[in-house]
Amino acid sequence: MYEVRLHGRGGQGAVLAAGILAAALVEEGKFAVAIPSFGFERRGAPVAAFLRCDEREIRRMTNIYTPDCVICIDPTVSRSVDILAGLKPGGALIQTSNRPVEELLLNEAVGTVGLCDAVRLAREIFGRPITNTLMLAAFARATGVVSLAALQQALRDSEFRDAGLSQNLLALERGYHETTVHHLERRAAA
């Protein structure tokens, strides 16, 4: 079982992203479960969403406390939420940031960082900092847990239409190719 926790802020689409990722994993023939965290939905407030995938049926319908991967689709939410809490040793962090990996606040558990300046890309593509699909592509690039093609198919099967669909498909494409992947072997060993 592979577990992902997504962090973001209300309005950025973290919950929707978990649903699209789950749909993409189902598209690939896997079992997937996505569960949003249950706060009051408010724009700007920290939100989290949980995703599990496995080759066999997933029975537990619970939140995730020890993720294999954390996807953080907001550049500042880590100031108010401990986004790396419980990350498994050697786990992955997929972070939107315009800073180099050396400047990120990481803990000893982080083994891989997928870095994507998704806010800048989102402003170019959507004219707004909607980072969710960009960061799904960054996740695909950095972990290989899901394919870009499955994410594209999940978007086509979703409620997105017309300009919204083409923009989000472009976001997947650019997010995938404009993500840098950093393996922190020293940290994983420690």
Partner: protein, 418 residues
Amino acid sequence: MNSASVAERPAPVSEKKPKYMLCEGNEAAALGVALARPDMVALYPITPQSSLVEHLAKLVADGRMDADVVEAEGEHSVLSVLQGATLAGGRTYTATCGPGLAFMFEPYFRTAGMRLPMVMTIVTRDGITPQSVWGGHQDAMTVREVGWVQIYCESVQEVLDTTVMAFKIAEHHDVMLPVNVCLDGNYLSYGSARIEMPEQAEVDAFMGGKDVNWHVALDPLRPMAVDPMTGNASGSGPATFVRYRKGQCRGMQNALKVIEEVHADWGRRIGRHYAPLVEEYRLDDADFALLTLGSMTGAAKDAVDEARAAGRRIGLIKIKTFSPFPIDALQRALRNVKALGVVDRSVAFRWNCGPMFQETLGVLYRLDRHLPAQSFIGGLAGADITVEHFHRVINDTEALMQQPERIYHEPVWLNEKD
């Protein structure tokens, strides 16, 4: 029924979908409703049920479900509108929870008394005060003595399948009672999982001809009174009232057999099998067991597997049908169990335990031996019941086997220190 789609039969909900799809519990309920082809749905949104009625409204707007939609001004009206539609012979549906269920309490009681085979999903929510909009079984448990059949779901797929089956159960001539499909607010309502859609033709064959209200169909050409003034202490009142209540109780008891038959038929036709009343999981050689309800069961089964891998003889019993209470099936399940941990997602204030624990005590009384049992209460107001919580339940329950005397402990509050 819907004037926009009278000429053309809408495309069945299953046609445009791939074999596997991802959907949340609320959407699965809406798809199950659409597959059952109701004539009327009446809706009033409330958290965490809201997306369910949004999905229903969208199915109708998209022409994938042919039902009249009534947006009533509140839940009392929702149920009252549907009573009229059901009396006129329609297949009817709604969904609510918590405060909405409280607001519809008067017609909720009347629906069962009038033997109207309505289906209503309770997207279960904890009781208010302190304020909470999150999941818990307190709402459904509070109305467990109002005469509705109540069936709890474990998974998103089970929500879809059970929603269809609920109409068949409600409308069975030996039952003729309204049915609540209870799906856990939050974890199941908003939790998305992979499901398989049955073919509409298969569901149509399963449902058979529509015969909803064969006993008192309203007809303007044959005026009749329903819901007569009865009771009191003279004339035909007492006997009439007793006849109503005995009939309701008989319908509830008949439902036990009908629920089993309907689940067996669904399994034969659709290929998915569920234990209709009480599920036994790894129980055959178990010394002690957990008793669970609803979506907590998945994590509990994972915990049981881990404990089994460590060599502990633990099993699990899940109640699917809570009302009527499956007394015989639960008694059978307990045949070899030497200690029982009962996990509730709500509170029985009067007994200082969980409601399912309280109900289980009645079954323990039927055993010819002492079976030590412990009440655990968790998952209130959206709290999580994790695999780790169930390991605590397993440890505490195993320790009961060493308990020589009849001691009834305080309930264990699983999230007290979370």
